[in-house]
Symmetry: C2
Subunit: 130 residues, 2 copies
């Protein structure tokens, strides 16, 4: 049976409180900063669970870290991510969905999944950088 623990709630809450993608390590640090004695391994486990249940999204940063974010919808979608501040916008892309399926089919591929994420500088960070 699945049990409800304050640790899981803490991770879920910390994710919700965060605007963009965050690494497991950073989330653990943030929780500690608020006085929570939660363990690192538990944060990893909770994040993995949330991702499986569809309550969180995960992606790999260009540096190879796994990043997580609270996910507002269980529907398939993609992201527009600020590489500076981590701000994330969820985007839909029916056109890309179709394209991915088409291009896979044309090459004889089946069970097509795809990774489509756009990185850039958000308006705020663009202004600051100027």
């Amino acid at each position: 049976m699945k049990r409800n623990t304050w640790q899981r709630e803490a991770v879920r809450g910390a994710l919700d409180a965060n605007d963009g993608f965050i690494s497991a390590q950073a989330l653990h640090s943030a929780l500690h900063a608020t006085g929570s004695p939660i363990g690192l391994a538990t944060v990893y486990r909770a994040l993995a669970d949330l991702a499986v249940e569809g309550d969180a999204d995960s992606l790999q940063s260009p540096e190879g870290e796994s990043l997580y974010r609270a996910c507002s919808t269980n529907l398939h979608h993609h992201h527009l991510i600020c590489r500076n501040c981590g701000l994330t916008v969820e985007i839909e892309a029916d056109a890309v969905e179709r394209w991915a399926k088409d291009v896979a089919g044309q090459n004889g591929f089946t069970q097509a999944a795809h990774v489509v994420d756009v990185f850039g500088l958000c308006a705020t960070c663009t202004a600051k950088a100027a």
Copy 2:
């Protein structure tokens, strides 16, 4: 000055001889299997150099490994990758390029880069799996 060493040639050759994306570790093993005494660190360095020069593509597998592949063109392009055998097809996607730029612009993002890769099972592996 940049020097030509047999090690760099060996890495380039091994990459060319491989059809799909391969990890640095696997490439090192493959080279050792052919009797080459090349060091692991050197393989990493050579791959990083090739990637910078545009002679190789790199991407991150879902498991977090960095994968490399000999790149036939320096132009920007994407990949259709068999998750079973590593077979890779280079694909162009003008539509996706435009879409990425548009969606970034609509949200005030600048300096948009994007990660677009499609994973699936190639025709051969699909047949085997049946």
